[in-house]
Subunit: 337 residues, 3 copies
């Protein structure tokens, strides 16, 4: 949806350098922009591309303004400003209100008139779906789920049972929310399944990535607070509690009953054991394993980085001889060399 630079500047509180009547119709990277495109510069790594961009305008920091060969929208937070403008230029495709004839909606479900239920979607017993919420093709919204206004559940996602989504939350394709947690009691005859009777409470403005799983609580609910962002293929186990505005990159696993604070960030493939507590404002590095409580904000790490296999093999061999090395030092200390 094309918009003028003047309108964008005014709506999002940016200073404009350039013609307010110039119209942009799409976003583009600095390198690939054409004359109808809005681009942005938010990272130093891309600054060299600024001089040669053919964008109509660039969203950038005050300090970069003098480098811009184009019109500019100046913001102290150019990435966030760009994000908001991009949403104007590229609104989501509209979904027709109403229930597609191929969808199956249980008679006990209550749907807002302007909700949209896509082809072959299935809505279960006692489900409630709010205004402007969209359930895409093939998605399943099981018994006792409640979706607030303006949510989006993408194609083939599954909200198994007793999942509540706050307003404007998004569930991507293939995500499974509310499946049984991994509750097993050992007995003489093998594992006994522990019934998982809790639900999942997801706050407002949450985004849940493709093929991520968030299990229902064993007894009480699993809780995801407002504004949390979870990437693809993450595992949030039963009774985990994630604080507001925490961001979790792909393939992170958080085991049962663990409590994560607000505004934390997890890099990809990190793991957290069960039953621990992580305070607010903690950053966990990629593939790190958190195995006990974290009580102090800051960054926590615990993985090595890959190097040439020969060198790595030598390092591991030295690591395995550490005990012997310490013995030799002890001997030297005793004058035994």
């Amino acid at each position: 949806m094309p918009e003028s630079l003047g309108a964008l500047a005014s709506r999002f509180g940016c200073e404009l350098k350039g013609d307010p009547d110039t119209v942009v119709s799409r976003v583009a990277t600095l390198a690939n922009a054409d004359s109808d495109a809005l681009s942005f510069l938010a990272s130093d790594a891309y600054r060299p591309q600024l001089a040669n961009t053919r964008a109509a305008a660039v969203v950038l920091r005050p300090a970069d303004l003098e480098l811009a060969p184009t019109a500019a929208l100046v913001s102290s937070n150019p990435y966030a400003s760009y994000a908001r403008m991009a949403a104007v230029l590229h609104p989501p495709a509209p979904s027709a209100a109403g229930v597609h004839p191929s969808a199956v909606v249980h008679e006990s479900a209550e749907l807002a008139d302007d909700a949209s239920i896509g082809p072959n979607a299935v809505i279960g017993e006692r489900v409630r779906i709010g205004s402007r919420t969209i359930v895409h093709a093939g998605a399943f919204v099981g018994p006792d789920c409640e979706l607030a206004d303006a949510c989006v559940v993408h194609a083939n996602a599954s909200l198994v049972r007793a999942v509540r989504l706050g307003a404007r939350s998004i569930v991507h394709s293939g995500a499974v929310i509310g499946a049984d947690g991994f509750g097993n009691a050992m007995s003489d005859s093998g594992w006994v399944k522990v019934p998982q009777v809790g639900g999942v409470r997801v706050g407002a403005d949450v985004e849940i990535g493709a093929n991520t799983t968030i299990d229902c609580g064993a007894v009480d609910d699993t809780v995801i607070e407002d504004g949390v962002r979870i990437d693809n293929l993450c595992m949030i186990a039963h009774n985990v509690h994630i604080g507001a505005h925490t961001a979790i990159a792909a393939m992170v696993g958080i085991a049962g009953s663990t409590r994560v604070g607000k505004r934390c960030m997890f890099a990809g493939q990190a793991g957290v054991v069960g039953h621990v507590s992580i305070c607010d404002d903690v950053i966990v590095s990629g593939q790190a394993v958190v195995s006990k409580d974290i009580r102090e904000p800051g960054t926590y790490a615990g993985s090595f980085t890959a190097e040439k296999a020969g060198e790595w093999t030598r390092r591991v061999a030295r690591f395995k001889r550490l005990g012997a090395l310490a013995d030799r030092v002890r001997k030297l200390e005793k004058g035994g060399a």
Copy 2:
């Protein structure tokens, strides 16, 4: 489904302290229980909550009986006893027998009269489905699959082809069983796909988590024995064989043709390379990598735990200087200091 304490005690062989006519109607945690709730104490960590619980009754060990302010059901294995009682109080929601009109069932499929096929589910050629087995909405049961009695396939799960499920086995939403294994032969013109013609044999009383994948065998079958429990987002590659009652936590990957014994346990994000053998009664710690045969029962580990990034960075730097440190010790040993 409410039940009296007397009936629960008698059915599950527990000693009852308290009024056998007291009726409980749901389970609850010690902290959040009300007077109609059954709770349990199986872990020392929750013992402090026992004194203040308002539960109607608590399932607990003989040693905790004197601490209980409530009625108590005494068991040497309170977690398993609780699990069985919870299944009485919270039976799964009933599914209507028969085929939902929106489901598509191939004419060659044989379904028990009391099987339940949900909305928009698809049942393929030559499929056989046993008594009381439930296939939920949008699930796919492909050609030549055989589901024994009382199985549950949850919404949007896929049994691609030639998957046999033993009695009472459960497949959670989004799980994919029987997809092609990763078989590729390098040739001068790039990778050649190796046809994957085996199936998947799953025993009785197995549970397979949400978005987990179990590939079909390349030639012979992939095998999951009775009573195995697999959590979400696990990968079981082609021709893996998992022994009975092994439990596998989330995000564990087991590569092709590996054989895992009985009663093993894998913590989250562990990995096992292909073509190795792990004996019975092995425990593998979180994010550990098993790269060769394990012939002795016990616990195996191989990951570090996260710490403050600055300290971790220093440790890694020291690790990288290990060769130099060893050289210095060697020099000292030669009297060269």
Copy 3:
């Protein structure tokens, strides 16, 4: 589909030892083969099984010919030759051309007459589907996707939006291609979603595993070149570019904007951070973390292997005392012992 050894030898350029009129009707492992089966020997580990096989014929290297008690098809690359022969013996089950009555196809979609759209599949706006391409049950092909000829999209896979598949590419069940990348800008009011407007371009002869996710580009496209093989449960983030014929084992994560060269191989659970570049012909070991550019072909590693937990714990303790050990060596060097 049975075939004679003579026909197989001639079609795939193998030397035949044995009766060209012998017919084989299926593949089997050396250990489990019967007299109608074709088997193969491509790995030294299985050579001991050759002497006792009851296969009708074995595909093998010239050097193994004299060990074969059976007919033999001799190839310098027996695994690739076997793969091609297996595809003759075990062709994929045919799918009826046309659109199943339960499928939902948008009126703006253009489908080849001989394309096959399975039960309850959904095809969106402006989709184009080529000749002989099969979309299986419950799969979703969203707006603006283009599938070339002879592709296969398996049951319950989701091509969310703007995904182009080259000829003969295969998407396994549960895979999600084209979902929004993880783009979030921090602002005073929390995370702002960055619209993800790029698409995904997948080349020809690509295979994408079950429950793998490949996100759409943020602005430009995510690109998977020809002949790439990706196993199950992998994460390919927005704007990643994977070079031709690279093979990626299960549970590998590649973060945003990273560029991977041609003919690379990633073992399971490896991870690559965002915005780095990996040259052609790189092998990354299991669970290794690539955190910076790799400019030289070769093998890169970075993970430890599991050992008995007691020994591992001692190693970690020594690792944590490395600073103290270095101090002691320094003291010795100063003559302070």
